[in-house]
Symmetry: C2
Amino acid sequence: MPSWGLGIDLGGTNIKIAVVDELKGILFEDTQPTDVPSGPDGVVRQLAFMASELYQRATETLDAGEFAGIGLGAPGAVDAEKGTLSYPPNLPGWGRVALRDELRLRLEEAHSLSSPVIIENDANAAAYGEAIFGGGNAFRDFMLVTLGTGVGGGIILDRKLYRGPTGTAGEIGFMIVDFEGESVHAGIRGTIEGLIGKERIVEMACSEQIGAERSPRLAELCNRDFSRLSPRHLEQAAREGDAAALRTWERIGTILGVGLANITALMDIRKFVIGGGIAAAGELIFKPAMMQLHRSTLPSMHDGLEIVPARLGNKAGIYGAAALCFNAAKPPASDA
Amino acid sequence: MPSWGLGIDLGGTNIKIAVVDELKGILFEDTQPTDVPSGPDGVVRQLAFMASELYQRATETLDAGEFAGIGLGAPGAVDAEKGTLSYPPNLPGWGRVALRDELRLRLEEAHSLSSPVIIENDANAAAYGEAIFGGGNAFRDFMLVTLGTGVGGGIILDRKLYRGPTGTAGEIGFMIVDFEGESVHAGIRGTIEGLIGKERIVEMACSEQIGAERSPRLAELCNRDFSRLSPRHLEQAAREGDAAALRTWERIGTILGVGLANITALMDIRKFVIGGGIAAAGELIFKPAMMQLHRSTLPSMHDGLEIVPARLGNKAGIYGAAALCFNAAKPPASDA
C-alpha cells in the first residue's frame, strides 16, 4: 500500500518541510527561517506548527489513513534509537535535546496530531533519500558523499542505512589520506575535508600553483578579488578550458578518488553517489576521481566501480527522512 | 545444544586442521605440508583425507549427532555463497576452484562422510574466530587487524562477519594514508601495508633514521648483517630500551593508529583486535597506536575506543572456520 509522510530538514538557517508521497515524491513543501534565538523549545514549537499545518493541507487531498509519519533530519550527533539530538553544530547553545519525543508531545498537545516521529542525522537521511528516490536507487550498496562546505556521507548496505554501533558512521570527511601533509582541519592532519572542503578548494585555486598571474580568466571572474573566488567561478573557468581551473578540479577529483578507494578497500563498497554544492562541477570531478579510484585499488577490486551524481540536490534529506517513516510503518518483509 | 566441528586452515605451506568444540575450543589437531605440486585435485584429496581421519578420531569420544560441519579458511578471493576460491596467492596455478563442492563430494565418495562444508576467506575466518573464542569476544562490533608479512583484517558487525557486497571487505592493508608519499606497494602509493608490512618495518629499521651507526644494539642482534634484521630483533632491542628500535615501533604504531582512525570515521567501529606476528610487540605498538587514534579522531568519537591483542595467534582461522559451522547449523534465533 503506497503511503505518504512528512520530511523535515532542520537547518541552522532554514527549516524545510515537505509532503512526500511514496510513489510520486514531493507533493508540496514549505520553508521558514529557523527561529534560532528561541532555542530548542521555540524550534520544537515551530517544527510542530509547520508540520501540523502541512499535515492539514495534505489531508485535504491525501488519505489520513495512509499517513506514515514525520521524519526529521538534523545535523550533528543523532541517536536515532533514543530520539535525541546532541550539540548540533549549526544550532549554538543546544545541548542534548530529546527532539523526537518533544516534537511528538507538542504535536499531540498543541495540534491534536498523533504521529510517529523519526529523527536521523542529516547526512544519513540524505543517503537514504538518494537510495529510495535518487541516484542510488539502482544500487543495493553504496555510499553517498556530499561535497560542500564540509565533506560528509552516508552509507547504504543492503538497501538499509548503515549507522554504525553508535550512529556516527559515514564521516568520510574525517578520513585521513595524507597523515604527514601540511593541511590540518579540526585538529586532524590530512583529512579529506581538510584537503577538499569548500574553503580549501578556494585556497587551492588561489595558491601559487595557479596564482592570479597564471590565470587571467579566474582573476577576471572574481574581479581580481581572490577572496571572493567561488567554486562556481572555478567551474565556469574550467568549462571555458582554463588550465589552472582544470588542474584544481583534477586535484579535487584525485583526492576524492583516494578516499573512495579506501572505502572500497575497507567496506567493499563499489558504488558512489556524489552530491553537495561542489559536486555540481560533475565530470570535472568525477572523471579524475574515477581514474584515481582505479589507480588506488587492486585490479581485482575494479569490477563494478561506479561514480554517479546525486539526483535530489538539497532535498535528499527531506526525501530520506520521510522515506524512513515509510519503512518503519511497514511490517518487516518475510523475505528479503 | 553444544556442538563440535572441524576447522581447516589451508595455507601455501601447511594445512592445519583441528577438532573444535563449541565450549572447550580445540580438542585435537593435525598439520601436514600442503601437497602443492599435485594441484587443486590433489589438495582436495589431501583435505578430504585429513578431515575424514580427524572426524573418525573425534567420533571415538564425541557424539556424531552433534557434528556441525567442516569450515575451511583459505587465502585470496573466496565467494562464501558460491563456495569458490579464486587465484589464491600462495597456491600458484590455481584458477577459480569450486572448493566447497569438490571437498564435499570427495568426502562423500571416498570417505562416506556426508558433511556440510563452509569456506571463507582466511582473514574473515580469523576475525570470526577472535569474535567467538578470542580477543573480540566482549565486543559486539570490532575489526581484527593482522600485522604480518601483509596487513589484513576482518570486520565483525553485530557479532556477525561483514563480508561486503562481493566478499572482499576488510582490506585495511590497502587503505591509503599517505597518497603523495614515496612508498608504493602492489602499485598503490601510501597504503598501510606499504608502510608497515613486515618488509617495510625491517627497511624502516635499516633506514638512515636509525642506521647501523645509530644503534649498536640492533647491529649486534643481527650480527651486523642488516639484511637479516627481523621484527623480533627490533622487539628485543626496544625492550632493552634501544632508542632507534623504540622510534621504529612508535612509527609503526602511529601509522596503524591513523588507519584505525579512518575505520572509526567511516564505520564507527571503536574496538580493534590486533593480531599477526608483528603484533607480538604488544604495547610497543598499541600505545602509540592508541595515542594516534585519539589524535586522529574528533573528540566526539573518543568514547569507547579500545585496542586489544588478538588471543588465538595463528589458530584464529581454524577456530573461526569451525565456528561458522556452529552458526550455520543452528536455526536463526527468534530474537537477537
